[in-house]
């Protein structure tokens, strides 16, 4: 026997060599990408402004207090408009999104080959475009005002509502539908008795959830001219009325918190 001593101390490593390498490579790659991106951003940045920013912020902050409380009387109307944009927009989106969801769900669509891809494309298109971009388009088309805002919110929400709804439809219990169909019910009756009751809670939840999001979104639509409190905000900022701006920010926070509370309450009541 030669003295070939096998040093069989077991080495423990969290990953084997290959995984370890892959993890390191991923980190390296990620860091490189980040550094590259940041480099490019920094090339287009005037750093003097950035270093000056804290002082600017302090200055801005000082000019914002105290909020111009008396100006609140001029804000009730924009707040009401904002609320209407969100609510009416949500209603419009529901009316359109329901049939689209019905066409997009694999188990209810009239045709998997033709109708479903179209419905899915509508959903993706509506979801990809931010409501502000929709508003931008609509303001040039139908003119500035609340109407453009309502339509913008409606168009943006279609994709959201339809996507969540069609996923809910695809998750229903098929045996209940089959049972209704087996009684000799027509397609419409099968939908009303077999499918609608099953997706109703999800539907109500989605609606309220989207309404809540829409309140947030409609606060800014005014920046491109689509009505609501954003319009006032934009005007105050361009005219440098900072005390009014701070009041509006407080109002926006208040509205958002209130709508969040309402939607949480309603969702709780439904489920």
């Amino acid at each position: 026997m030669s003295g070939a001593i096998v040093t069989s101390k077991k080495v423990w490593q969290r990953h084997d060599r290959k995984t370890q390498l892959a993890v390191w490579a991923a980190w390296l790659f990620g860091t490189a990408v980040f550094v590259y991106c940041f480099q490019l951003i920094s090339e287009r940045t005037i750093w003097a402004f950035v270093w000056d920013a804290p002082a600017q912020a302090a200055d801005l902050g000082a000019r914002m207090v105290p909020p111009a409380w008396s100006y609140i009387h001029y804000l009730w109307r924009p707040i009401w408009d904002t609320l209407n944009i969100a609510t009416l927009g949500t209603i419009i989106s529901i009316v359109i999104a329901v049939p689209i969801a019905y066409c997009a769900a694999r188990n209810t669509t009239p045709s998997v080959a033709f109708v479903r891809p179209v419905a899915l494309f509508i959903i993706v298109a509506s979801r990809s475009i931010n409501s502000l971009i929709w508003a931008l388009m609509l303001v040039t088309i139908v003119g500035p005002g609340v109407f453009a805002g309502i339509i913008a919110i409606g168009l943006r929400s279609i994709g959201f509502v339809a996507k969540l709804l069609y996923e809910a439809i695809e998750e229903i219990d098929e045996s209940q539908v089959e049972a209704v169909r087996s009684t000799g019910a027509s397609a419409a009756q099968t939908t009303v008795y077999g499918i609608v009751p099953q997706v109703m809670p999800a539907f109500a939840g989605i609606t309220v959830f989207r309404w809540d999001i829409n309140i947030r979104e409609s606060t800014v639509l005014g920046l491109v001219g689509a009505g609501g409190i954003g319009l006032e905000l934009n005007a105050a900022i361009t005219q440098l009325y900072w005390t009014q701006v701070s009041l509006m920010l407080l109002v926006i926070i208040g509205t958002v918190i209130l709508s969040e509370w309402v939607s949480a309450k309603v969702r709780h009541a439904i489920i």
């Binding site: 990620g30 990408v33 980040f34 991106c37 940041f38 490019l40 951003i41 920094s42 287009r44 940045t45 005037i46 402004f49 950035v50 920013a53 600017q56 912020a57 801005l60 009401w80 408009d81 609320l83 209407n84 609510t87 009416l88 993706v124 298109a125 979801r127 990809s128 475009i129 931010n130 502000l132 971009i133 931008l136 388009m137 040039t140 088309i141 139908v142 003119g143 005002g145 609340v146 109407f147 309502i150 947030r216 979104e217 606060t219 800014v220 920046l223 491109v224 905000l233 900022i237 920010l249 926006i252 926070i253 958002v256 918190i257």
Partner: protein, 268 residues
């Protein structure tokens, strides 16, 4: 077997809301609200009518969209948007980890908890756009303002979800690690991190997706990126270029969504 039933027992579907007064209050309230809302929403129909040809023009601009005449600006804008998205997601997540840990009630001491929670609340209450306006004021026009905006918004989103995840974790696992005599950081690393990690990776990719969408609009208020290009195209009524930009945004959103979904499955 005899059944002593009244000859005709009527049946009506019981109402969804059992209390009659509540039901009627809701119905009447909704009706009043709707009529008021519709009544006070002034629609300038003649302006809408005037705009319809322009709308048609816009729709026809999609066939075919004009990719060529503004191509350099579009490429520039898209590139800027992508940098902003990546950099802001990385920085935002890196910053939101300490904030999220601080905002978890079961880990952080009370003063830290309140501080971190209020940071999250501020970041979440404001639309990205409003934040962008202020950051543009502070940092000047360009992608840096957009980058800061998205980073800050990411903190609100990611930090809140991280905090909730930590609060929901299984305390017995974390306790077991603590029982071994681990230090605080070791405890975080061994007791907490493994529990929240898989979900947080998924959410990080999801946030990347959101940041891309949002970065497309912060440009409208001066935050750089494709939004600025789009805004210019609209202001000049160059609908065919705008259509091209919108199609590119849709394509990239779809690509990001698909690849992030794929990555999420791969990571988990």
């Amino acid at each position: 077997m005899s059944l002593a039933l009244p000859a005709h027992r009527t049946w009506k579907k019981p109402p969804a809301i059992k209390r009659a007064w509540l039901r009627w209050t809701l119905i009447v309230g909704a009706a009043i609200y709707l009529s008021l809302a519709l009544g006070t929403t002034h629609v300038n129909w003649s302006r809408v009518w005037e705009g319809l040809p322009r709308g048609m023009q816009f729709v026809t601009a999609f066939l075919p969209p004009d990719f060529t005449s503004r191509w350099t600006e579009i490429v520039e804008g898209i590139a800027e948007t992508l940098w902003m998205t990546v950099a802001a997601t990385v920085v935002g997540i890196a910053l939101s980890v300490p904030v999220g840990i601080g905002a978890a009630r079961n880990i952080a001491p009370l003063p830290v908890y309140y501080f971190c929670r209020s940071v999250l609340a501020v970041s979440r209450s404001f639309q990205e756009i409003i934040l962008a306006i202020f950051f543009v004021k502070l940092f000047g026009f360009g992608p840096f303002a957009g980058f800061v905006t998205l980073s800050f918004a990411t903190i609100g989103f990611y930090g809140k979800l991280l905090a909730e995840d930590i609060e929901d974790m299984d305390p017995s696992q974390a306790e077991a690690v603590r029982a071994t005599g681990a230090g605080w950081l070791q405890w975080l690393n061994y007791g907490v991190q493994p529990q929240v990690m898989p979900r947080m990776i998924g959410l990080g990719l999801y946030r990347l997706d959101i940041n891309f969408r949002e970065s497309a609009v912060v440009g409208i208020v001066g935050g750089g990126g494709i939004g600025a290009t789009l805004d210019t195209a609209f202001n000049r009524y160059e609908f065919d270029s705008a259509a091209a930009i919108i199609l590119i945004i849709i394509a990239i959103v779809m690509a990001v969504e698909y690849s992030s979904g794929y990555l999420r499955r791969w990571v988990q």
